[in-house]
Amino acid sequence: MSDGGRDAEPAALLRSVLDAPIENLRRLSGGASRETWSFDCGGRPLILRRDPPGAPKEGMAVEARLLRAAGACGVPVPEVVAAESSFIVMERVEGETIPRKILRDDAFAAARPALAAQCGTVLAALHRIPVEDFADLPDTDQVAEWRDILDSLGQPHPAFELGLRWLGENRPPRSGTTVVHGDFRNGNLIVGPEGVRAVLDWELAHRGDPLEDLGWLCVKAWRFGVNDKPVGGFGDYDELVGAYEDAGGGHVDRDALMWWQAMGTLKWGIMCIVQGSLHVSGTVRSVELAAIGRRVCENEWDLLDLLPYGRD
């Protein structure tokens, strides 16, 4: 299969797949794994996401399939205009993604009370994506997967060991097997004054228990300091769960939801160790990554808050 996206400059790449002239092309983010470019084509606002040259992954075709399948199920997502194994061209949805603005700016004051329920409705639709069409996505035991990642980092964390112990002994029965977004949270949603406009960042999608997505959305780190609103800093458990069940999502067992919130808290803590390790190992020298290494204890604190051991 031809793959013009791997090494071509973005302008040349876009000319090869789009008919109208490309205007206002500019790079938006400098992530190590993916490049994001904004441009207009024939008056239409678009986004290019592509793997950088030499990237080993061929995951963009899967992401394009997910976006199309999600859209067909009623999940708000950017429309895919063109896609190959190393790039996607999609609609540019206007709105805000920065959590602190979504949680604090006046422009979103009317949206905030609606967001938790909207997330429930969106997740119910997302979990209707035909899972049999995505048999190529991994379906792993999350506890074992993250325990192995923790072990690969070589740093002892007794708090996370307590978490792994409790998660292993209190695992709820699987509520179902669906496509799981894997990073559905405040920060990966485009929000307008009326609410959720699009769900982004499908890179971590996999198959698994749909409650994983609900629990992840409730992890304390995604409240960005608004701690009296457990769902993303904008809502309550009842709003999320009620809307999810009313929209045809499965029954949400509250103990299972808390198990998945604890699992998510452990997972984010280990992800923070990974980020700090990138600096410590010299892979990426960065004061920001260095500082994240010392924020791991925030996740340990949050996790201990969900565990029974030594609670006085």
Binding site: P156, H157, P158, A159, E161, L162, L164, R165, G225, N227, V287, E288, A290, A291, R294, R295, C297, E298, E300, W301, L304, L307, P308, Y309, G310, R311, D312
Partner: protein
């Protein structure tokens, strides 16, 4: 101050750099550099707190490990993993909570109040 070094102490030097970044550099930069300057100011605050609190924390931590019959965080992590401490999980839980509290007192004391 720690002999043979002169004043300012290490803690005072860190504080001097933190003040320089916060008062002189931060207002003069924007965008990515401003964000990273803010991170650097926080990091130096962390270092200052570790210099002040670290020795007492290390002593208390060592005593806590000894009371549990282990010599290090790594050994504690291992016995939790291997199930060799199942009859002492509440004692271990109390110690781990105290340890994480000590880490937060250095890394981000505001987090304890949230």
């Amino acid at each position: 101050m720690t002999e043979p070094h002169d004043l300012p102490s290490a803690a005072e030097l860190v504080e001097a750099v933190r003040e320089f970044l916060a008062h002189d550099v931060l207002p003069a930069v924007d965008g990515r550099v401003q964000f990273h300057t803010r991170v650097a100011v926080n990091v130096l605050g962390m270092v200052g707190r570790e210099l002040a609190l670290g020795p007492a924390q290390a002593a208390a931590h060592g005593e806590g490990l000894a009371a549990l019959g282990v010599s290090s965080e790594a050994e504690l992590a291992r016995i939790i993993r291997q199930g060799g401490a199942d009859d002492r999980m509440d004692d271990i839980g109390r110690f781990v909570r105290a340890t994480v509290r000590a880490k937060l007192e250095v890394a981000n004391p505001k987090y304890l109040a949230e």
